[in-house]
């Protein structure tokens, strides 16, 4: 699987994504600078976490207008899988590849901690290695992670089963207490219409190594390798 990781000024989880991808695929991904209008042939494009453009204006707003994003949008619309993690999810919503917006956390503060997520779809490119309704642990680290979409959009997302992950407790119960940032419907991540573009606030690349405390993240990268090879 050939992967590309887009690097914006201020991205800082690009190396983390590259390490996780190399561990899963056996080859280092291409690191693509935002200023390049050209993008190599890729089976997967990753928009990593960080503070692209310092979160000026709105998180992800300026990155969405980078030269390289024009090509990313084109490829996404043509079916190339695109994974947006944290700031990457924010860029995807600003670029119009996913609906809704990520707002300031309900607590108004940055939160870094492990959370439980319920896997809502186990049949996508990203999740074949997960079981239906499996409860996994991923870390979050964000100040602007509260997912919001208007009622109509939410209804559509739910109706089309496009919710990827929901914040839950360790038993898989989706409760207000388990919601770290006030996201509507406890939404932690969503898919586009074809299930090829995934945006999520938690960081799978940070829990893809037993030394770091867990490997729930590894399953996502392994799922991608298998799905794309198939």
């Amino acid at each position: 699987m050939k992967a590309s990781v887009i690097v914006f000024p201020g991205s800082n989880c690009d190396r983390d994504a590259a390490v996780a991808l190399e561990a899963a695929t056996g080859t280092p991904p291409a690191m693509v600078w935002h200023g390049d209008a050209e993008l190599p042939n890729s089976d997967l494009i990753v928009l990593p976490g960080g503070f692209s453009y310092g979160d000026y204006l709105r998180s992800g707003a300026m990155a969405a207008h980078s030269p390289v994003m024009r090509e990313v949008v084109k490829r996404a619309r043509a079916g190339t899988p695109v994974l947006g993690i944290c700031n990457g999810f924010q860029v995807l919503t600003e670029a119009g590849l996913l609906p809704g917006v990520l707002m300031r956390n309900a607590t108004l503060k940055f939160i870094c901690k492990d959370v439980h997520l319920r896997v809502e779809r186990e049949d996508t490119l990203y999740t074949r290695r997960y079981a239906k309704s499996e409860v996994v642990t991923f870390p979050i680290a964000h100040k602007d992670g509260s997912y919001f979409a208007d009622a109509e959009t939410l209804k559509r997302l739910e109706g089309e089963a496009r919710i990827a992950f929901r914040y839950c407790d360790r038993r898989g119960q989706v409760t207000p207490e388990a919601n770290p940032n006030g996201s509507r419907n406890n939404i932690a991540g969503i898919y586009n219409e074809t299930g090829t573009v995934l945006g999520l606030m938690p960081h799978p690349e940070r829990l893809a190594d037993p030394a770091l405390g867990g490997t729930d993240g590894t399953k996502m990268f392994k799922s991608l390798v298998e799905s794309i090879a198939a």
């Binding site: 989880c13 983390d16 503070f51 310092g54 940055f110 939160i111 901690k113 030394a211 770091l212």
Partner: protein
């Protein structure tokens, strides 16, 4: 814009923080009256913050060498060998005065500044820590200061993408009007690619990179060298303003350029900005330097030479390049969209010459600026030693568990999660021990090695006895690293004290240095970098002496590393180290009885080493399941923290005869660790410890889900945890 010649009046000199005698010395080394720009340059270079004039004679007593030391104090940061061609680059710095005036920016720029000190040497920062001291909870400003400092540190470090993996926070009324913000940064570098600051070569280009220069932070260095009074709020423009996005670009651009062969010398512009960086770089290299301020990128109109030389605008570096490398360097900084300007060149005159608008605004011999600041051996008086308190003279609590609840729920011992959950402690995907344990640990990227780090000092001990307290700071840091299985390598420090012109404060400083030096020597734990912050007092009331220590250690294999969390039911709990029930200056005394009396616990450095080396050996041998050193609050607090971390309860044995039970459980004797081990290992370990001359005793075992003391009702872990987690979020107003 040329400056009119300004008359040198005594008022002008005093405003610049120079004494009459210092001014007389200035005119002597210059050979004439200074221009205003020259007066400004001298005032910052000879300020306490930049020249260390009150402390230099004493700092020489600190041990700074060892086989592991590649670079000691004097460079931008200290450098320590990690083996396999790699080194750790680290330093701690204070941003106390600015953080009191403007907590968010003061703390943020403290983080920014210390990170630049590390990456200017070619090291990518891999972890940050911080040591914070705030006033009492019931002091009107405390909440505002905590909120500002924590969000300032968080926003800056998080945006930079460097994990903040630990630190210390204390609340004490003596910091009411003088908070302390000490920021530490650790980076990794290849030994063959270390960059230094000595400018070499004549006629080489001097290049400015980073943010534009503005009027912020002018006289930040002199502000940090003076006490506060009622007028201090007017000092707001002296606080620097940070932009972590720009610093992230600067970090990447510098590291990118450092891969080529372009840079001769590089230093960040910190306190006293362009002045200190150009002076120090040229002086170290034995060259002169001429600066042409017409080329300085500015973001304000009409800045004068004085303003440009003194501005402390953040996120700027000064470099000397190899002739011919300018174009390649410019390309790198253009890619990262940062300002790049050739602002001068090196000369062979040994002088700093500053031109602006075709006039010479300053022409000063460099050695005078860098070395002629007077060094003071200020008069000092030792403090009278306090008598130790006998354990029998301290009243016992009605119930040990009720006392534990009171202690765990107090601001001194409660959970700090409210703070560190605002710091990204996992970015860079190498954090193998998160905040909450004895030391933060990051994996050395791409290897099996771990880099452990800890910040430590117990100010109430230092207030009672500065020498013994400073010894304890070094010893506790060494213990915290040892408790994870690391070999302690070296320390950095932030020496925070009051007004050195007062003999009792100077006495605290002198005694603290002696205590530190003794401990560093005995533990082979040298000082490789550091910072002194004096004049931390308001209206004549000083902070307690606070010599903060930041240490690093190496774990050869992170699969042989210890954590504090209890792991298995049935494990035996073992206490290593001698007990004497020392309650003087203890938290038990303070929290339960509202007394701050007695000598602090003495530190036996030989015992520290013997016990620590033995415990580290157990960890390396994979023989134990949890380790925690005993410190604030004493033994019962230590056990409770291990129980929380592991989610497992404990059944504790009756305490031995000879000392009151509360003295055993809450005494703060030094040099001790609690270790959990499987029974079959414990049976072997006990005689081995005795053989090694290490005091040892079984204190209980891992069992159930409560904390059970003989003769008392079990205390549910869930209930104790709730108490532990309650105070800080409630104090800060919502979690």
């Amino acid at each position: 814009m040329t400056q009119a010649k300004r008359a040198m009046t005594p008022e002008l000199v005093a405003e610049h923080g120079l004494s009459a005698e210092e001014y007389r010395l200035l005119e002597e080394v210059l050979g004439r009256e200074p221009s205003l720009t020259e007066l400004g340059i001298f005032s910052v270079m000879w300020s306490e913050h930049c020249s260390y004039k009150s402390s230099r004679v004493w700092l020489r007593k600190l041990p700074t060498e060892g086989p592991q030391v590649i670079e000691g104090p004097g460079e931008n940061a200290g450098v320590v060998d990690l083996g396999d061609g790699q080194a750790a680059v680290f330093k701690m710095e204070s941003h106390n005065h600015p953080s009191y005036i403007e907590p968010y920016q003061g703390a943020a720029t403290g983080v920014g500044g210390i990170m630049r000190d590390v990456f200017t040497m070619g090291a990518r920062p891999v972890a940050n820590m911080n040591a914070l001291r705030f006033g009492a909870a019931d002091h009107a400003k405390t909440r505002h200061l905590v909120a500002g400092v924590v969000s300032g540190i968080g926003d800056y470090g998080n945006c930079m993408g460097v994990p903040t993996i630990g630190g210390e926070t204390n609340f004490d009324p003596r910091y009411n009007d003088n908070i302390l913000v000490n920021a530490m940064c650790v980076g990794l570098v290849d030994v063959s690619r270390i960059f230094k600051s000595a400018a070499k070569g004549v006629g080489f280009p001097v290049v400015y990179v980073g943010s534009k220069t503005g009027r912020d932070g002018i006289h930040g260095a002199t502000m940090a060298s003076a006490e506060f009074d009622e007028a201090s709020a007017e000092k707001r423009p002296t606080v620097q303003v940070g932009d972590p996005f720009t610093e992230k670009l600067l970090l990447e651009a510098c590291l990118e350029l450092m891969q080529e062969d372009a840079i001769v010398a590089i230093q960040d512009m910190g306190a006293a900005g362009l002045t200190s960086s150009s002076v120090e770089m040229a002086d170290k290299g034995g060259v002169g330097i001429v600066l042409d301020l017409d080329h300085i990128p500015t973001r304000e109109e009409g800045m004068t030479a004085y303003e440009m030389m003194l501005s402390e605008s953040q996120e700027r570096m000064l470099m000397v390049l190899k002739p011919g490398a300018e174009a390649a360097a410019r390309r790198v900084f253009k890619k990262w969209e940062l300002d790049f300007a050739i602002v001068g060149r090196t000369t062979d005159t040994g002088r700093l010459v500053v031109r602006h608008g075709s006039a010479i605004q300053a022409d000063i011999p460099l050695s005078a600026l860098a070395h002629a600041a007077p060094q003071y051996t200020r008069p000092w008086t030792p403090k009278r030693a306090l008598a130790p308190i006998a354990p029998e003279d301290v009243p016992a609590p009605n119930s040990l568990t009720a006392a534990l609840e009171a202690m765990m729920g107090s601001p001194h011992l409660c959970s700090r999660a409210w703070i560190w959950q605002q710091y990204d402690h996992m970015v860079m995907a190498d954090t193998v021990q998160r905040p909450g344990g004895d030391a933060g640990v990051v994996r050395v990227h791409g290897t099996q090695k771990g880099l452990a780090m800890s910040c430590d000092v117990t100010p109430r001990y230092c207030a009672a006895d500065a020498r013994e307290g400073a010894k304890q700071a070094v010893a506790e840091c060494w213990r915290n690293l040892t408790a994870t299985g690391a070999d302690p390598l070296a320390i950095t420090d932030c020496l925070n004290f009051g007004n050195p012109e007062r003999p009792e404060v100077m006495g605290e400083f002198v005694e603290a240095i002696e205590g530190m030096a003794e401990a560093c020597r005995a533990l082979s734990f040298p000082v490789v970098s550091g910072n002194v912050s004096l004049y931390n007092e308001t209206n004549g009331v000083a902070i307690p002496p606070t010599p903060a220590v930041g240490g690093i250690g190496l774990i050869p294999d992170i699969d042989r590393m210890a954590r504090i969390g209890l792991k298995s039911d049935g494990d035996v709990l073992i206490l290593f180290g001698a007990e004497a029930g020392h309650l003087g200056q203890s938290l038990y005394l303070q929290i339960l009885l509202n007394r701050a009396e007695g000598a602090p616990p003495p530190v036996d450095l030989d015992a520290e080493r013997r016990v620590g080396d033995f415990v580290r050996g157990l960890i390396r041998g994979g023989r134990v399941s949890a380790v925690h050193d005993v410190s604030d609050g004493g033994l019962l607090v230590t056990v409770a923290e291990m129980a929380f971390a592991g989610g497992l309860g404990v059944e504790l044995d009756a305490t031995p005869e000879g000392l009151p039970a509360h003295a055993i459980w809450f005494g703060e004797d030094q040099g001790r660790y609690v270790v959990a081990a499987p029974w079959h290992e414990a049976a072997k370990i006990l005689p081995e410890a005795v053989e090694a001359g290490v005091a040892v005793r079984i204190i209980g075992k891992v069992a159930g889900d409560a904390l059970k003391l003989p003769g008392e009702a079990p205390l549910s872990l869930a209930a104790l945890r709730a108490i532990h987690e309650r105070w800080l979020p409630k104090f800060m107003g919502g979690s």
